[in-house]
Symmetry: C2
Subunit: 167 residues, 2 copies
DNA sequence: ATAAACTTTCAATAATTATTGAAAGTTTAA
DNA sequence: TTAAACTTTCAATAATTATTGAAAGTTTAT
């Protein structure tokens, strides 16, 4: 496998993984491309590499910026805008975990809290609903907390030692 | 919010969360429905509750069984098949994490390993590709390991104490 | 063996989501 | 101020994914 093959394989695999986890393919691929690029890329560069339209590129770059994992780079003397992604995997993971938590998990935790707080009318089905959604609420909250804390450990050694502790 | 409203809210929220994370809505809703049901449900029951077709119900039940989180229940004297889901949230999380890891993460780890192992031809871009995919490989592998280990802790106290340790 | 009761399969269709491309918008240089 | 260089927007279209429903398949009771 040479450079070009490896690049294509990485970018397309990352795109597929994104799709599987509810992330738009183009978005994941743009991020992957920037992640292995040695220099900021322009919209033209991205369109060309991924064979996608200007509109698609523009919209997905904006989304990546909204997520906080891509930033605009102004290159002096250049008219075009250039883009880069966070290069540190730990920081990247931190940002993604934080955003998905905020956008997707927190609202669900809220619903689970509400649902599990309905008045117990004494029927078996109500008791079961309360019991099960309460358990799910606790699990979700704990998992969310944990992921955020783990991913926030900038010092990799804590993570490593935790892993040992758990083995 | 009464029982019926709470049930609808829970089931539909769970369905939306599924969609967001790449899981078919009907599949997530069926699982949610079974999760709060006090007794096994038949295909008819599920179709009726979720207003979905027989075919859809059948296919998604099969998928849930393939995932190992729903099982067929034979009720003596009954001709119909009945279904139940794993009721313990910890066990549920364990199964889902294991399956998603096996189906989706492991193949990506393999690709990252391959891509990060290409021959270093000395060019800057190749060095960057290797460096970045290697970092991603390590992160993915560590995260995957960790999630599986955490989720495998059947004794909740370990999880709880870990959380404290991390705070 | 037959038929009733049930489940599965899968081609057709619907619903959702992603993508295009060109017009409208913005910025910069002269 | 004009126009060239660039980006954004968004209605139209394409691609993907989910769902239906009816025919085919299976199981059980008689």
């Amino acid at each position: 496998m040479n450079y070009e093959e490896a690049k294509i394989k990485f970018v397309s695999t990352w795109g597929s993984l994104g799709t599987l986890w509810g992330i738009n393919k183009a978005m994941a691929q743009i991020q992957a491309l920037l992640f292995i690029s040695t220099k900021p890329l322009s919209m033209e560069d991205i369109m060309e590499e991924l064979k996608i339209s200007r509109g698609n590129t523009s919209m997905n770059l904006r989304q990546l910026m909204d997520w906080g994992i891509v930033t605009k780079e102004i290159i002096p003397g250049e008219r075009k805008e250039y883009f880069t992604t966070e290069k540190d995997v730990q920081e990247l993971a931190r940002t993604i975990a934080k955003e998905r938590s905020r956008r997707e998990i927190q609202p669900v935790i809220k619903v689970l809290k509400d649902v599990s707080s309905i008045k117990d009318d004494g029927t078996e089905k109500t008791k079961e609903l309360i019991k099960q959604t309460k358990a799910l609420h606790e699990l979700t909250e704990t998992a969310d907390d944990m992921i955020n804390k783990l991913v926030n450990q900038r010092q990799n050694w804590i993570t490593k030692s935790l892993l040992k502790l758990l083995t």
